[in-house]
Symmetry: C2
Subunit: 409 residues, 2 copies
């Protein structure tokens, strides 16, 4: 059944690439507005079942659609429709010594598998980005959101039809068991498989996949406060990273502080964090400077809390900070606060992460903030797209050659 959906989508790829993709996005925005009640009804059924099943408050919260979501989703669709078309451009067309003209043509990746958890808004946003770039999409959402996802995919298929595009371009896998994940992992008809969710899901897909995977994994993100940091700025960046939205992947999880400024900075950090209800977990050198902190256990330095908890470590300097990040970071987002450009550039060059920041909050690792206009998620795989994936990151290039009968000698 999954294979059949994939085959039907593949058969229509050329039409999708050539069709009125922006028209489908705009039709979807209109349909969401006209038929929001249908979506909410399906979502209420999901919520009721999830409550009976005893889902946590946080998970119910992620599952629930609200009226303000309609505005966000419809506006998002219109913004993506207004972005320039990522397809069709021919890049670097060059005449070779034998007269052959060669260049690279931007084309869709093809058929993308998307395995995601809970939040039904992703059924609108991720499909919109994929479709903008001319791709078909096979969705496998979480069990809890099945009715919501089904209602949204039904609207997508209507929107595709209104724009004259084949409705096979968006398909929802009709089962939500683990078998469906395994089957997608082995479906060689997929040009790309994107798993977005918890560590367990990502690890399962990376282990089982026989198709290309771009993982959207956890963010164990650090801020290094250098001896030459502006400490007022460092405090603001630490607070913004930790408390502005603690449950997202670009939130801050640990602060590394140069030993020379630790006695000055740590008491201020503790006071500011306490005012926002943040619990500090500290290394042995930081503990004496943080009376309210608890010791960080040896096992938690690579943990992503997604909560109001922050690790603090005193380091001897840049070298130790770099080594700590290389060992415990998750290649997601890393930041330095310093007024010394030489130290900053060494950090920018040597830290291996999808976004490295100098004097700015880790919260900027986001497709909108970096100017992509939209994103399907943040890749922590280095291949193809490292960081936020917008429409352009869901394309590839193929070579073309325009000749006049050239042969190889």
């Amino acid at each position: 059944m999954i294979r059949e959906l994939a085959e039907r989508a593949r058969a229509r790829l050329a039409e999708i690439a050539k069709g009125n993709r922006d028209g489908a996005l705009l039709a979807m925005a209109r349909l969401l507005e006209a038929r929001w009640e249908e979506v909410l009804r399906a979502n209420r059924e999901d919520l009721e079942e999830a409550e009976r099943a005893g889902l946590s408050r946080a998970k119910l919260d992620r599952l629930a659609l609200r009226d303000k979501d309609l505005k966000t989703l419809a506006e998002g669709l219109r913004q993506i429709a207004a972005l320039p078309d990522p397809l069709g451009r021919i890049e670097g067309l060059t005449k070779r010594p034998n007269g052959l003209r060669v260049g690279r043509m931007r084309v869709p990746l093809g058929l993308i598998g998307f395995i995601y958890e809970a939040r039904p808004g992703a059924t609108v946003e991720a499909v919109a980005v994929a479709l903008k770039a001319g791709n078909a999409m096979l969705l496998r959402g979480g069990k809890e959101a099945f009715r919501s996802n089904r209602a949204l995919v039904a609207l997508w298929r209507e929107a595709l039809g209104e724009a004259g595009l084949p409705e096979e371009a968006v398909a929802l896998v009709p089962t939500t068991d683990r078998e469906a994940i395994l089957e997608m992992c082995r479906l060689e008809l997929l040009d790309l498989l994107i798993p977005r969710g918890g560590e367990e899901l990502i690890r399962l897909v990376q282990k089982e996949a026989r198709v290309p995977v771009l993982a959207h994994a956890k963010g164990v993100n650090h801020l290094y406060v250098d001896e030459r940091a502006d400490l007022d700025m460092a405090l603001r960046l630490a607070l913004n990273g930790k408390v502005q939205r603690p449950a997202v992947c670009n939130a801050l999880e640990a602060v590394l502080v140069h030993e020379r400024v630790a006695p000055l900075f740590l008491p201020r950090l503790e006071e500011a964090m306490a005012a926002h209800g943040v619990e500090l977990r500290a290394c042995p050198r930081a503990l004496p400077l943080l009376p309210r902190a608890v010791p960080a256990s040896a096992e938690e330095w690579d943990r992503e809390y997604l909560d109001l908890i922050l690790r603090v470590k005193v380091v001897a300097g840049l070298e130790e900070a770099l080594a700590h990040i290389a060992r415990y970071g998750s290649r997601h987002t890393e930041a330095i606060c310093t007024e010394d450009p030489k130290t900053a550039w060494r950090f920018l060059e040597e830290v291996d992460a999808s976004l490295v920041l100098w004097n700015a909050s880790t919260r900027f690792n986001d497709g909108f903030q970096l100017g992509l206009g939209a994103e399907i998620g943040i890749s922590t795989s280095k291949l193809h797209a490292y960081g936020p994936m917008g429409p352009l990151e869901l394309t590839t290039t193929k070579w073309i050659a325009l000749g006049e009968g050239q042969e190889r000698g």
Copy 2:
């Protein structure tokens, strides 16, 4: 042991990226010239054992190093050293509305695993491309070439030392059993794993790998001779594709001929191919026009012969040609011969292959021919690099952000 080699290489990645990489390539060229006798001695031992083991003539031929190889390898190294440095550039640095400057910095992929068969020259060429782009490389060559590869890697490590680079940047896996392949497939320390060789190897790696893989798979390449083709040109392109070097992945395996020109073209094709000893295997419609051809079996339309054998099929037109290529092609190299630009552009746009050519030979799918200066192989994976992979294709970009204390509101 493999893990240990990988860990040692990873620990030196920053030094490799910053070091005198071109110096190491030039040192390797000098060392090859000065110590070629050592390499040949090791190669002779490999050849003697391979003969005793009863390897085929073709395989012995691939295994053997000759004096002309020295010139090719040394020249290749000097050419790659002379290419522009792919690293360090910051692309598209843009000021966001909040004043944050964001852009993408070119960086090495990191540690690359390379699993390859037989030909020892690859131990020089592939490492050169990887090193040019600042990567470390873990090599697992074929059993038959073990002594030759060991001698070449010993020279690489000497060359690295001469250039002040850590010798850990190039390591040869000391065993050549299947276990070594499986261990590399599961080694999460690899940023990329490239398998280059027969179908069985590629399939094994794609099945077992838990790290990103770019497959270098077979080329089932077609030439479509349109009704508006210049038939003299079509004949030359077919010959060049098939006979100039039949055993390589960009050689031609099948010709599709429009039914209107088949009666004129096929007899000429048969005569020309016969003069070069090429056996034709034909579809039922082509057979009556090709008295010397044998029928193509139903199972061989997706076969890569790598030999003086060519399939021939008569098609009703462009649609049937596109459908046949979509079904049987391997997304490697596809060509059309026509004087009609409209037909040509539809073919260029709709065929999904790493290189699509108009009026030129399939043999141009090659890093040197397309202007990359060098290549490590031809990727048939659509992700990251589709087609020949030169130094730039062995890099990635990470985002950097230069701020003045920006927070998210």
